[in-house]
Every structure is written in structure tokens, then in C-alpha cells.
Symmetry: C2
Subunit: 100 residues, 2 copies
């Protein structure tokens, strides 16, 4: 199991532009057969700080996602409005057993 | 809905000490009636970088968690082995509709 946190930092004046792009990205990604979960959140303290919390079966599934048409098309459109570089955190379960 | 990412940075030599403390904290927290989800992950690049991904119905529920006996007892025991200050990120859904 692979857990991913991906953080975007978007210019405040571009939030309304990127929201429909994010919406399309999330909707298309949720339809990927290998996607376990893929949700987008926004920092309570910064409306331009968007945070994906993702779950994939393995790294290969994440690679398929990153190579998808929707990812390759939409992510550069979103990144055009970034105010800082995105951050990525790839994680494993801290314990072995299945979690709630 | 409140999504929380809480990051701990633990000294490498203390990982085996904190793991049972984390296990007790996760097991006790999952039993809290207001807990929607509470899982602990570890950074693939840093075995001392532990990341909680949490979901609560609202801020009041998080306050109840932080005031719980298990939190008040175990978190200071874990923090005794920190190598850097913990980080917290409180987030809302980026969209209004229910997510997968």
C-alpha cells in the first residue's frame, strides 16, 4: 500500500481558475481502476494551499496515474499558477496490520 | 468535515521505542466515538518521519481527541524523542460534494 500527500501552492488570484481543473483531475483520477482513494483538501490557513491525500496499491499504480492523459494535461495547467514548488510525500503504513 | 495531517520527526535511535506508543495511541483513538479515521504512516525516505492522516467531523471532535487520556499521556512520551518540532495541517474539503 502506498499513501501519498501532494501539496500545491497556488497564487490567491488564480484559485477560481484552478478549481475546475482540480475538479476534473479528481473526477478522472477516481475513475482509474487502480485508484483506492484520491481526495483534495484546502488548508484552513491558506486558500491557495491545496493538498491531495491519495492511496494506491503500489508505486506502479502511481506511475500509471502520473502517465495518464488527464494528469499530463491538467497538472501543467494547474502548475502555471503556482506560487511555490509542489511537495510530495510517499509513505508506507507505520504498522503491518490493516487500518481503520 | 475536518481533515488533519500531523507530522512527527523522531530520532532514528528511538524508533523502536516510539512504535509501541504510536500503536497504543492509534488503537485508543480509533475507539473514540467521534473518530472517522486515524492512520499512521511513515515517510519512505525517513524512517523517523511519522505522519498521521486523520478525519474528524469537526474541530470540536479534534479538541475532544486532544484532551483524551491516551493523547495527554502518550503524546508527551513520544515527543520526548523528537528531533524537530511536530507540524500540523488542518484542512477542509476543496469541493463541497462527497468524495470517494
Amino acid at each position: 500500500m502506498l499513501k501519498v500527500i501532494a501539496e500545491d501552492f497556488i497564487k490567491i488570484e488564480a484559485i477560481e481558475i484552478v478549481l475546475p481543473l482540480y475538479r476534473e483531475l479528481v473526477e478522472a483520477t477516481k475513475k482509474e481502476p487502480l485508484c483506492i482513494s484520491y481526495n483534495l483538501y484546502v488548508d484552513e490557513k491558506d486558500p491557495g494551499h491545496f493538498v491531495f491525500v491519495e492511496q494506491w496499491p503500489d508505486h506502479a499504480a502511481l506511475d500509471v496515474h502520473c502517465a495518464s492523459e488527464h494528469f499530463q494535461r491538467l497538472v501543467p495547467m494547474i502548475n502555471a499558477y503556482k506560487k511555490a514548488e509542489p511537495k510530495f510525500l510517499l509513505m508506507a503504513d507505520a504498522f503491518d496490520e490493516k487500518q481503520k
